[in-house]
Point group: C2
Chain length 243, copies 2
């Protein structure tokens, strides 16, 4: 059986999704829990390698396994083995060929900035606290200028192994609700740190360090050093994956 | 100068408000931060001894201190010394006689129950996850029956040193929004664990272990052993203090 599993997680305590020697990852915790439930070693394939400290409202992975547990009961059984900050919310049976990593059509990430003097202890795990007032209208214009099928080399962290740096960025929306600024980005795929660099660049527009025109030029010149900072991880959440 | 300080905190990592030998408390953290800022030992008086794991949207304390820092700047300076899960949000100058503990007229606490199959990693620090469906209408009726000026011995944990067990419970409101059940309680003061026992008793009504009539009888009989469980701390938050 090829099983598709959907997780929700608070990534604060983890070194990201992907198993690695230097810290506890969500993949490792999930595979250990699956081993306890299924009584054998399981390897999962994840839709996205979220970074250390990044969260997911909907993270999809798949794994192959025979089991007598009814598929819809797997989340409940698995949650008894998972820590409280990782929850399995759905499990379905897929065709053998389904691959959670390679078959994604579209991903949506959401980033939240708390734009006021004092941070909020009830939000601080999930926002970037930015005390200097940001010009949201300018950020909206710059966000629009980013949208399209383009080479996003300027918005990619070094150390990436992407085969192509062209991505179809379908949406970058900046919204403000009270002190909370939300940036939602949808694409057919994202380069390494791309959303966090988009956000950092929009913040540079919001605080006046960059103009809207300069953002377009940075993209054309494909030079990462000209854009904004890489926004900190805790404000970022993988929101939706479409297959 | 007698200064009134308002804090917000996520109590997850602390052994409650009051300084004690067995764990780190919010009072201790605050007094240490104030000592760094004011360059001398400061003792604060808090409005409420919140339990281990309980949060506060508005916790008020006062302390006496001479300082050349403008009073409205104290939160900003103090926040540089405080951990992210405790934030100073306001500071004002009060008359010498003001006492944050003894001059409270009214306090409001709010408790949140997440009533669905799976817990939510983004809420789990701040809710009681209760997977069995609760009858909210019955809980509302039982909540109404609790309101009034009464002897609340039945809703007090042992180990309390209260001089009187009579409190004026002005409001107990049960609201439901999706899977989230919110219980808001306002009184002139609360006994030890009183809100958590009110919530535990309402949950016993919601799951059918107690009837609305039995709740009235439990209060009359002043017997703690007849009521519901003491609800876990993480769902509770001190919401407002009125002077």
């Amino acid at each position: 059986m090829n099983l598709k599993l959907t997780l929700k997680y608070d990534g604060t305590e983890y070194h990201g999704w992907q198993r690695q020697p230097n810290g506890i990852t969500i993949q490792e915790i999930l595979e250990d829990a699956l081993e306890k439930v299924m009584k054998k070693k399981i390897t999962v394939t994840g839709c996205s390698r979220t970074d250390a400290g990044v969260h997911a409202l909907m993270h999809v992975s798949n794994f192959k396994c025979e089991t007598s547990i009814p598929v819809h009961k797997i989340p409940l059984v698995l949650n008894q083995q998972l820590p409280e900050d990782i929850r399995a919310v759905d499990c379905t049976l897929e065709e053998d060929g389904f691959n959670a990593r390679y078959h994604t059509k579209e991903k949506t990430y959401r980033y939240r900035i708390l734009n006021c003097e004092h941070n909020d202890p009830f939000l601080s795990r999930f926002v970037w606290h930015y005390p200097i007032k940001l010009d949201v209208d300018a950020m909206k214009k710059a966000a629009e200028s980013m949208v399209g099928e383009k080479d996003f080399t300027a918005f990619m962290a070094s150390g990436s192994s992407a085969k192509t740096t062209v991505r179809n960025l379908k949406r970058v929306e900046v919204e403000k609700d009270g002190n909370l600024i939300t940036i939602t980005a949808t694409a057919n795929g994202f380069l390494y740190n791309m959303v966090r660099i988009i956000v950092g660049t929009l913040v540079y527009v919001g605080n006046g360090k960059l103009t809207v025109d300069e953002v377009a030029r940075i993209l054309e010149e494909k030079d990462r050093t000209l854009g904004g900072v890489t926004a900190p991880p805790q404000g970022l959440r993988l929101e939706e994956v479409v297959y």
